[in-house]
Assembly symmetry: C2
Homo-oligomer: 85 residues x 2
């Protein structure tokens, strides 16, 4: 079966996010003033071929740990959904 | 009230994603072979101060259109949740 994984990789809370700070400034310069803290990370959409949702989850977790996320500075969360075609 | 917006900005379907292709290759090199198509975009987490969820949504939509997303090449989706503190 085919699954779609939606992965969010964000800088850890303790870590400064200069890109987010810059975007916040940019928004304020555009008079969008009601925006507070901004944090910027990556969003990754993966297709996974697996026998069960459990296997798909394990694959995505391995992919995050081994390649996608830098666990020293980032944290990841993901959700998985079956593709019904 | 305070709201948190979770924004996903992804390259449009019609557009090639070389970064995603590279990551797919990288995953296969790590013997994570069950991964098919990979697409990489941005994930942005914003805090918004607004009177209602409607206003917060409008602010986030404006922010996406005016600064965060390049609508020629990217598409965005977002969800909003109230912060209960």
């Amino acid at each position: 079966m085919k699954y779609i994984a939606e992965i969010d990789i964000m800088p850890q809370k303790e870590i400064l996010d200069p890109q987010g700070k810059a975007v916040k400034l940019g928004l304020h310069n555009l008079h969008i003033d009601s925006v507070g803290d901004v944090r910027i990370g990556k969003h990754i959409r993966l297709e996974v071929e697996a026998e069960s949702e459990e296997t798909a989850k394990a694959t995505v977790d391995t992919a995050c740990r081994q390649l996608l996320a830098n666990l020293i500075m980032e944290e990841y969360t993901f959700s998985i959904a079956e593709i019904t075609a």
